[in-house]
Structure formats: structure tokens, C-alpha cells
Symmetry: C2
Subunit: 335 residues, 2 copies
């Protein structure tokens, strides 16, 4: 590859715990990385991010530019950015998530990269920016912002991704392939475990199986961590059963098994992984609940239920948990 990373302008929208890690690694690879911050704007503008990573080491990540809004980022670079990484929470029940990019100087050359959780999240961006390339990705990274601008992170970050196609049979163009390879190359140079995944939606479903079970059960049990969830026989079983429901929907949507593990075994395998984590954790949905911030219940739970309803698949557990979450969300947003 002869691509000059230094020529590439990346805009990171939503520079929290996840976004800052990928932005940092891309800057390490030689890209110019500007960030749009919200709650941490003042601190990051002044002194950047302090990152403590067991895998990458300790470092201070100073973005090439720090903006408080997408509008400001657009004014600074009117010709537009090559990649716009969207790492915000995604809350379509509150606001069309693509609206955030309206002021971003998204132009023809900009590739939008979604580093966000959930099912059915791409349509909002595809509809608003039909002529832009759109990459959808699954991040695996254990990271948290321990205080404003201070990030603690463990293990090697990974990103699996591909171009989003409304119709999965649509062919990826040569131009899109070049961009995918280019993006993978930047990530790899930044020591992120990067992979172009042929069936990216399948990976989304695998991640949702985990998210759709652990996150709601944690929220709905007055905020429980993974150790508490697994040590209680009733909630352990609830996790398994809710995973089975999600797997049935996912397999029907993508029309193949979600993993090489038989689907009857997959939930148990996932719980075994959680069992063996060095430390219990609280899902971000639980943290959001405790802080009375909006939770990603639409893209993590409701969109899956909508698929199930369209396919006539019964998901009573998911529906029960969603109804409970919906009222909690409503109360949190009204307060």
C-alpha cells in the first residue's frame, strides 16, 4: 500500500470512551484526527485525553483539532473530511441520529463510519446521505472514561466492518473496496485488530445477543453487575432464554446460523465467557439508567422486537423487558 495516512482527514463525532480509543489509534497510524466533543469538550480542548491502556501503554492523545460542534468542524474544513466516525450513543426514539451529521460538511468524498451498537441503525444514515459511502462496524473494546478526558482501556481494540448495503445482495464497488482496504490499513498500522467482514450483519446480531440480554436484565434488577446476574439462578436462566429469543430472530433475518456454535449452545457459551471475565462489569445501559440519561433501548431491544413481529416470531421475554425499560426511559427523560 502506498496510501499516505497523513493526507487523510478524520473527524470523530462523539469522543467518549470508545471513540477516543479508535481516534487515538488512527492518529498513531498517521491520520489527522479531529474530534467533536460534548460533555468533555473543555477538558479535551485544553489537555487532550489521558489514556491508560494495558495493551497500548500510557499516552496523552491530543487530537489535531477539538470542536464543540459539528458546525464548527465543518467551518474549519469546508472541503470536508475523508472519514467521519460516528461514535455517539444512538437514540432514534429521541431524534433521528443522522441529524447530527447535517452540519458536518458531509460531502461526496466523505465516508461515514458507524461505530455504534444496535440493530437496524444504518438506515437513518443511508436515508439522509444516500450518495455517501457508509461503513458499518462492530467494535470490541473494553474501555471507560474514568473521569472527564481520562480513559482506562484493556486488551487490543478490534473493529470488524464492511460497507453497508440496504440489500445484502448488492455488490460492493471497486471504489468502496479501495476505501475498505485503506481504512483497514490505517487501523492495522494503529495496532487495532481490523477485519473486513463479509457478513457484517451477522456480527451485529452476535453482539446484540449479548447486549439484548445482559443490558436489560442489569437495568431491571436495580443495577446489577455481571457477577450478580450470573450468581442468581433465576436471572442466569433469564439471560439464556432471552438470548435464545434473540438468536431465533437473528437467524431468521440473516438466514443462517449466527456463529459456528450450534444456536442451542451459543447462549451458554456466551455466559461462560462472561463467567470468565477477570472482573464483573456494569453494561453501559445500566450506567445510563443510573445517571438518568437516555438508554439505547430502541436499537438494542425494540428494533429486534420489530423484526420479530414482522417475521411472526414470539419474543415474550424481550417484549416484557422492553415494556419495563420503556417506562423507565420515559420517566428518566421527563425528569
Amino acid at each position: 500500500m502506498t496510501i499516505e495516512a497523513t493526507q487523510k482527514k478524520i473527524l470523530l463525532v462523539g469522543a467518549g470512551a470508545v471513540g477516543s480509543i479508535y481516534g487515538w489509534r488512527l492518529q498513531q497510524a498517521g491520520c489527522s484526527v479531529s474530534v467533536v466533543c460534548r460533555s468533555n469538550y473543555k477538558v479535551v480542548k485544553e489537555s487532550g485525553f489521558q489514556i491508560d491502556s494495558t495493551f497500548y501503554g500510557k499516552d496523552s492523545f491530543k487530537p489535531n483539532a477539538v470542536f464543540s460542534s459539528c458546525k464548527q468542524a465543518a467551518e474549519e474544513l469546508p472541503e470536508g473530511y475523508d472519514f467521519i466516525l460516528v461514535c455517539t450513543k444512538i437514540l432514534p426514539d429521541i431524534l433521528n441520529p443522522a441529524i447530527i451529521l447535517k452540519d458536518c460538511a458531509v460531502n461526496e468524498k466523505s465516508t461515514i463510519v458507524l461505530i455504534q451498537n444496535g440493530i437496524g441503525i444504518e438506515k437513518y444514515y443511508a436515508e439522509m446521505f444516500p450518495s455517501n459511502k457508509l461503513i458499518t462496524s462492530i467494535a470490541h473494546v473494553f474501555t471507560k472514561q474514568v473521569k472527564t478526558g481520562v480513559i482506562s482501556q484493556v486488551d487490543q481494540a478490534s473493529l470488524i466492518f464492511n460497507v453497508f448495503k440496504q440489500n445484502p445482495d448488492q455488490i460492493i464497488s471497486e471504489e468502496e473496496n479501495i476505501i475498505l482496504e485503506e481504512f483497514k490499513d490505517f487501523l492495522t498500522r494503529g495496532k487495532v485488530n481490523a477485519k473486513i467482514e463479509e457478513n457484517i450483519q451477522r456480527e451485529r446480531w452476535v453482539k446484540i445477543v449479548w447486549n439484548i440480554s445482559i443490558s436489560p436484565v442489569s437495568v431491571l434488577t436495580v443495577g446489577s453487575n455481571t457477577r450478580e446476574l450470573l450468581d442468581c439462578p433465576e436471572t442466569r436462566n433469564l439471560l439464556l432464554e432471552s438470548m435464545h429469543e434473540a438468536i431465533r430472530v437473528g437467524e431468521a433475518v440473516i438466514n443462517k446460523p449466527l456463529t459456528d456454535t450450534p444456536s442451542t449452545e451459543l447462549p451458554k457459551q456466551i455466559l461462560d465467557k462472561v463467567d470468565n471475565l477477570p472482573e464483573p462489569f456494569y453494561p453501559s445501559m445500566m450506567i445510563d439508567m443510573q445517571n438518568k440519561r437516555p438508554m439505547e433501548i430502541q436499537v438494542i431491544v425494540k428494533n429486534v422486537i420489530d423484526y420479530a413481529n414482522n417475521l411472526n416470531i414470539n419474543v415474550p421475554i424481550l417484549q416484557t423487558m422492553y415494556a419495563l425499560l420503556a417506562l423507565i426511559q420515559k420517566k428518566n427523560l421527563n425528569n
Copy 2:
């Protein structure tokens, strides 16, 4: 009737908001009413209950004796009480509820009267006191202890009841009939709307349909009142669906419809009633959760699920809510 109410000794075990109202009315009828208090012992011993009732008026209820334990009550009257009214919370997942009566001087003449919620609660007492008469009842009374020893109550209290028979085909004896009529007479003299109900288990199921839906949904939505539950379309629908599950189980157990209303209509009818209450309310299970006290999840939820499992009836909504409640209970009891 020529029964002398004044000769009748009644012991009330668990003199909270519900127990104090029935004790008060029985004393008004002429019975001698002694109470075993726990958290409110000191206040009640000193000055009795202050009751403000929109139906019965304002009064001070001074029990004939106030005890801090069943043992004390037994020592005071070694020949035993005629009626022992059990009005405590019922928590068989924590302790066999009948154990509380072990020290109560339950002798042959004592009739045990359960004024407690839930399904399958009688077996604990029937097993421990096989030779005693056992009356099981459903209380309808809107009452709360606004502060220690101070009770606020609205509407006429009612009590429907009958002798408990392990086998519903078992005939009620002449002696039992006399006691039932006697008890009804005392209540009626105390202006409680009293009714001997042929199919008492059917009434228990009607009440559980209400309890098994509204109580868990309130607890699991960070403590919501009935207005909040009904105004949110998702939880309103969840209430309806969880009631349908409970009705299916109840109809299978008692082998007939729960009410004259068609079972397809019953949940909507119950919600209409809740909709039309003068004020929204918080179920006692929610109050217990907020105070980190044990909740009656075994007798209100789990025993229904056990019936469903034995009858091969699917109750995924109830099971989901129970699993969530089970972990909350566990955490509350460990703290």
C-alpha cells in the same frame, strides 16, 4: 344469633394497616381483641391506633392487650384464643410462615384466620396445625399506616372467606359452619362487609390477577404508581398480557372461569377500575422494595408459576418478571 361476642377472645398477629382495621371492627362488634405488634409495638402499647376512616369515622383503637411477641400473648392467655387472625406479610421463601404461630398457644378450640395475599398460602398452616380449623379470606380494604400507629382508611372494609380444605370436594362440617357464621356475624356487627364464599380459591385467583401484574410492573419500573403504569402504552399492554397469563393458570386450577366477565375481557375490566380510582397508588410490593424489605414474590408470583409449570401452561411474562424480582429480593435481603 345468641352468641356473646364479649366472650370471644381474638388474637391479631401482625397489626399493620390491614390487621388493625379488622381488629378494630371486631372490637367494635364486642370481641376482646389482643394484638401482637412488631415495628409499631411501643407506640401501640402506649396509645393504641389512631384511625381516620372516611367510612367508619375517626377513632382511637385501644386493643384489649398489646404484646410484642406471640409467646407473650400465649403466656397471658394459656387456655388459648378463639380466633387467631394472621395479618402479617407472608414470606415462605424466607421462613415457613406458620412458624410464627408455634408460640401462640394454638389449642384445639383456636380457629386460624388468614388475612393474607397470595396463592397457595394455606398449606403451610394446614401442615403445621392439622387439627385446627383454618379459615382463608380475601380482604378488600384501602388502608395505609401513614405513620407508626396512625392508620388512614377509605371505603367499607370487606372480607370474603371460607374454611380451607386441601381437597375442594371435602364437605364443611356442621361445627365449621357454626364458626363461619359466628365469624361473619362479628364482622357484620363491626360493619365489615362479610361474605362466606363457596369458591374461595376462585376469589383468591381474581385478586392475584390484579396483584401479579400491577405489583411486579410497579417494582420493575423504578417504582411507578398506577397512573404512570397505565399512561405508558407499553406497560399498559404488559399489564393486560400478564393478567391473561395468570387467568389461564387460575382457570385451569379452579376448573372454571374466574368471574362472570369473559376471561378475554377481564384484564381490560380490571384496568378500567384502576383507571377510575380517585387517586393513583403504589402497590405494597413497591413500598417494600423501596424500603429494602422482603417482598411477597413467592406467594404472589412464584406459586402461580409453579402451578403453571405443573399444568404445562406457558407463562413467559410472569417468569421474566419473577426472575428480575428474585435478584432484587436477593440483593435487598443481603444488604
